[in-house]
Symmetry: C2
Subunit: 359 residues, 2 copies
DNA sequence: CCTGTTTCTGCAACGGTTTTCATCGGCTAC
DNA sequence: GTAGCCGATGAAAACCGTTGCAGAAACAGG
């Protein structure tokens, strides 16, 4: 029941602000050269740390530049050097009108990427729409806006992704490892992760372990594969009625968990394909009067920052967000330099916390 | 108890990828001009939709450009036009080593900003560090990387923010309205919001309403002010022991909520300064055997996307993330064009859901 | 003193667009 | 017939750095 009530519509209180003085890059290198009594070349070299310029001259120039509050014009530099020190990061971000994902995983990853990039003096361009989406006419690599792209999800259109990366190799993709793919992928070993999680639930004595997640996403499909593998490797048949793979995104997780309960299928554990799903499942179960982990053990996937402070804290398969982000940046920058680079499968680690019950 | 166990360290499986063919902006406008038998000027005009060029010529050029897979070089254009159609968005993003905020509010807002900007053909540069932070030598406006900046939090150093915006007026800040500030602020009326939330709790019969949130953040301080106002306006004295304002960020919210319980102070409702805090409070209370909303009513602030799908769904003061994001973009672009622009206080709305109890 | 090196600096040629100003042909109006 | 205008195009000047190459100055060795 989402009763809404509106209040205090003190109509958009406002205080007028003065017109801005137009502040832009005004000083040019020429002026600094004049002030220092040298040529522009020397100024350029001094500022870029070239060893060709005398120590004294450099210091003098630096001091003058600083006092004139001078900064090189990035666009002129990019034009000349044919590179931008900018990386595009493509994430399917939250959308308000239509339902769309808004998983904290992405925010955590963004933080790591921002750090890794700025450490290497790169800037980060953030985008929601793939260059192959319709309505997008060009891509940031071709038009010289970025030197490379990090794509944070393989998404639905694997074919488009594949042909794009065929054309533009300066791309690293986060996701699952699919045999056919030729682009660089970074991600955990989802099959191993799924197996690890499931086997842990077996080990602590759970008999009816359910799976919850949408296999339309390649990574999730692999995790489900790992789930199945855990059973077959242990000589147990998979009970298909325990696999709840109705398509849904994180926002609908709660509804899905409710559907699970209403299905009447009995279970004493759930391997959730993400931490967000796990948290939703937990609150839903509790609303239904079930106790986690007493009645049902829960394992998630991702190890997002809040996983450890949720109540109960989440047992989860770590996506090694930190390592993953750093690795993506490393590989991409190397590839941009033209080096040969390897697709990377991050090792998988289970973080055991409260939500699956003490062992 | 965070027992960790490592498994399946199949050491970084790897498949070597071929060296990338260097794909960059190769075709230039000159070549297109040659092919079309016209001058570069005409090509430029044709592509930018200038009315000065003949319809037939334009179509011919467009066709040629398309077939040559040509795209204008952004850097050359930016250099010439002295503007980039890029906006920097500054957000204090999640940090792994040290605790830091990782509030879904920011991800939701990023989604809205991305939409609003791309609708106007602007790109978005994402940053974590303020230009006035030490170690940062320049800012994106001065060096010509962006036309303006959206700052997503006033942060701790109000003085630095103030002097930066004094120098560079092409800035819009999300946050609370502080009398002394001269920069453009967009945000909800935090005082009204705090009052609204608190009064709602009074109205449904709660007697001991606690406040939970860190007033070091200007917005939170204003919400607390609203909380106090609700009492004084209704002729009730504020019980200071009900105000839990120990400094903490979202991750520590659970710990803070536990401290609240241990303090022994009795309360039957909490006004939480954000939805993340509210969710933490709810799980903590439940772990302690209390029922929400039966024993304690909870109201949050923000109305993030998952607020409605949490269990119980959150009663919360809407930050109008959608309106807010769009407004920030509108105002910033207007200001960049040199128009006079007004600081905006968004009207406040309470979304009543389960977590405060049926009215 | 002459030659050869080394060290530093300047000249000038880019880099790829946009935009102002001039040009030019054709058309209208008188 | 001529002045004036209009619509379309081109030439060239920015925009602001970087960098290859040449040259100068200083210095050492013979």
């Amino acid at each position: 029941m989402t009763l809404q009530f509106l209040a205090m519509r003190r109509d958009m209180l406002s205080m007028s602000k003065t017109l801005p003085r137009p502040v832009t890059a005004e000083t040019t290198m020429f002026e600094i050269a004049q002030l220092a009594g040298v040529s522009e070349s020397t100024v350029s070299r001094a500022l870029s740390g070239s060893p060709l310029v005398n120590e004294n001259t450099r210091n003098r120039i630096l001091k003058i530049a600083r006092s004139a509050n001078y900064t090189v014009n990035i666009n002129a530099r990019n034009l000349r050097q044919k590179r931008t020190r900018t990386i595009e990061v493509l994430i399917p971000l939250a959308e308000y009108g239509r339902q769309h994902m808004s998983d904290p995983f992405y925010l955590d990853m963004l933080g790591v990427l921002a750090d890794a990039l700025s450490e290497r003096h790169y800037d980060m361009l953030l985008t929601k729409r793939a260059p192959w989406a319709k309505g997008v006419e060009t891509n940031s690599i071709q038009c010289g806006r970025a030197d490379g792209i990090i794509i944070m999800s393989q998404g639905q259109d694997l074919e488009a992704l594949r042909s794009f990366t065929d054309l533009y190799p300066q791309v690293v993709v986060w996701g699952g490892h699919l045999r056919e793919d030729d682009y660089i992928v970074v991600g955990t070993d989802n099959v191993a992760g799924g197996k690890l999680a499931t086997e842990h639930l077996m080990k602590i004595g759970r008999k009816r372990i359910a799976f919850l997640g949408d296999p339309a996403e390649p990574e999730i499909a692999l995790r489900q594969e790992g789930y199945r593998k855990a059973f077959s490797d242990n000589g147990i048949a998979v009970d298909e009625s325990l696999i709840f793979s109705a398509p849904f995104d994180a926002r609908e997780a709660r509804a899905s968990a409710e559907k699970m309960l209403q299905s009447g299928v009995k279970f004493d554990a759930i391997f959730c394909a993400s931490d967000v799903i796990a948290m939703s499942a937990i609150t839903t179960l509790r609303n239904a009067g079930l106790e986690v982990p007493r009645d049902v053990s829960i394992v998630g996937y991702d190890d997002i920052l809040i996983a450890s402070s949720f109540g109960p804290s989440l047992t989860t398969v770590s996506q090694r967000i930190q390592d993953g982000g750093k690795t993506m940046v490393d590989l991409l920058l190397q590839r941009i330099e033209g080096k040969s680079v390897d697709t990377t499968l991050l090792p998988v680690e289970l973080i055991v916390r409260e939500s699956c019950g003490a062992q």
